[in-house]
Point group: C2
Chain length 372, copies 2
């Protein structure tokens, strides 16, 4: 039922145009996945996600749904697709990243991680087995092995110990799997040490997964270090399965990562920045609260075909933001997700025509002008 | 360009089925007008307002738009319709009610009201002339005379003085009008004193307006006192022009008022209560945060055809509300406005069949069960 197919590879590099078939439909790759943390992409209805942003797949966070409303509840209601009214493909993360970034009092042991809920202070454990069980209860089409997201900075020894724990957890995650209608991806750690990334990649491949992800990036290592990892290890990841760069990133990051052979991406940036009044445009980001937009009758991006740009002026969008209106978040989220999905669609078309490098250069030339 | 036409009157009472033709389309009456205070019905796109709630007309608040972003700005951008992307009929209030309820340091004189902006403390005056000028700059299809909303309680003398001031302001409002493509409505005050309501009605009719509104209700006088005014004076309002009950109300209120011959209504209740997690249903209001809905797979109202009820369970809607998700406000607003608009559509159909009294009784019998 699930498979990955490469439609075309660029002749002069590593980028590829593919398709992932899941139980809830086909994902055209390279693709961006909007983040729907608590079983909602903040502010948008599933209908808007499809009609107005052309999103293909939504990511939900296991950690948040485990704590509230609980995976048993969601399972009893028919799974997360039905719960949130999203009929397309879904991916859940393992919960590992959030345990490390959001919980206090966390204790890491071989068996798993014990932590306190920020909601009510209650104590919980996540382990490879429980993470997989929770994700299978939620019922996403693509689920992730439970890993330790190595913090940055990490010493060589810390990064080595961490990736070895992740590798042991990867094997347990794979064994814990009970459903056969999903894809399970393994996660490569190793911090910014090339030999440790290589070691982690080998250990993850040894376990054997339906896809592979680069984790532990965009955690403070800086763009240059992240690009080094992506450019060196993207092409080394197994070719015949999907490659997922977790938690990344800016439009530039996505172009660089696709050039490195990555296929899938998620990031809160387009949605979170939208709520802060930041609009992505072909000529760089636009901060709508600026006084210069007060009387501006133009849309955010005159060349953008999204609902927001077709119907509203910068002056109105600034008014909504300044007035703290809910619709400000809604319209900015529509625009930013449309922008990200259009960027990915542009990459896919360029790949079909074997013109990816020209597309990348042309986009970055425009984007860097910051003349909005 | 603008006119009011009565299609059918019920044979056994005062209710009527009508149509108001405006520069931006026809309003089928009786009708409910969602409140779009700052040029947005909170949380919904104009597309959702039409497609998902079947709203016919939106009300915007002159006071808020005057203070921010300013009527000159909105006029320079083509008017409030274009500003907010709403192409249907619009009504603006005069600003009088908000000056009294929201501003500090207000001083009422014959010339008008001086007040301080809650945004920046700056001093402003609203008068009949400036209110009409602001409303004509905004460009709504229906605009309101500038009145003093008599507070409750008011002594007989206070209510008399107040309605006389409102009558003088009504004449000035009428004279101040410059556009001919809108309808100007006069507002009847008089508190809860029948003879003062009668006097105010006469004085307002003497000025002569395109429609008449009952103001100064739903300000603390209580349901029984409000019903007394509506039932006694609704039928006495001019028959051949639209009758508007301002700021009202609950589903029961709307049925009682339509029975009294009223045609138009606005109220923040369906939208504000939505943001507080209250859903209107045929069997009474439902408070979604209640623990009994935690695992409830049913929609809010199984007989409701709105987007929210067609796609989401009470359990999911409760999760969104408890998690303080924006989508909670969006989905509840869609449902409540659909409910209000469906109620009005039900009344219209019943009026066309001359079955209004049966419809009213049947609705109220169901509604009072509160068995949701």
């Amino acid at each position: 039922m699930t498979e990955f197919r490469i439609i075309r590879k660029e002749s002069a590099g590593f980028a590829r145009r593919g398709q992932i078939t899941t139980a809830h439909g086909v994902i055209e790759t390279p693709c961006f996945m909007p983040v729907g943390t608590k079983a909602t992409v903040k502010g948008l209805t599933p209908k808007q996600l499809v009609d107005e942003t052309q999103s293909q797949i939504v990511l939900a966070n296991t950690y948040h749904l485990f704590l509230r409303p609980g995976h048993e509840l969601i399972e009893s209601l028919g799974g997360v697709h039905k719960f949130m009214g999203w009929n397309g493909p879904m991916l859940t993360d393992s919960g590992g990243f959030q345990v490390f970034s959001l919980s206090s009092m966390r204790r890491i042991e071989e068996s798993g991680v014990t932590f306190r809920s920020p909601i009510d202070g209650s104590s919980h454990q996540l382990s490879p087995e429980s993470s997989i069980a929770i994700q299978e209860a939620l019922g996403a089409d693509i689920i992730m092995a439970f890993d330790e997201c190595t913090p940055h900075p990490a010493t060589y020894k810390e990064a080595l110990d961490s990736l070895e724990l992740t590798a042991r957890w990867a094997a347990r995650s794979s064994t814990a799997r009970k459903r056969s209608d999903n894809l399970l991806f393994g996660i490569v750690q190793g911090s910014t040490y090339p030999e440790l990334r290589k070691l982690s990649l080998e250990k993850t491949i040894d376990v054997g997964f339906d896809g592979y992800a680069l984790g532990g990036l965009s955690v403070g290592e800086g763009q240059a270090a992240m690009y080094d990892v992506v450019q060196e290890f993207g092409p080394q990841m197994p070719e015949l399965t999907p490659r997922y760069l977790m938690g990344v990133g800016t439009p530039e990051d996505l172009l660089v990562a696709v050039a490195g052979g990555l296929d899938m991406f998620d990031c809160v940036m387009p949605t979170r920045n939208a709520r802060n009044g930041m609009y992505f445009t072909r000529r760089g980001p636009l901060t709508i609260k600026q006084a210069r937009f007060r009387e501006d009758p133009e849309p955010v991006d005159a060349r953008c075909d999204c609902y927001t740009c077709r119907n509203f002026s910068r002056a109105y969008l600034r008014h909504l933001f300044v007035s703290k209106e809910i619709l400000s978040s809604v319209l900015a989220t529509i625009h930013n997700l449309y922008f990200y999905n259009q960027l990915m669609a542009g990459m896919r078309l360029a790949l079909e025509r074997d013109e990816f490098q020209q597309f990348k250069k042309s986009f970055l030339d425009d984007y860097k002008t910051s003349d909005v």
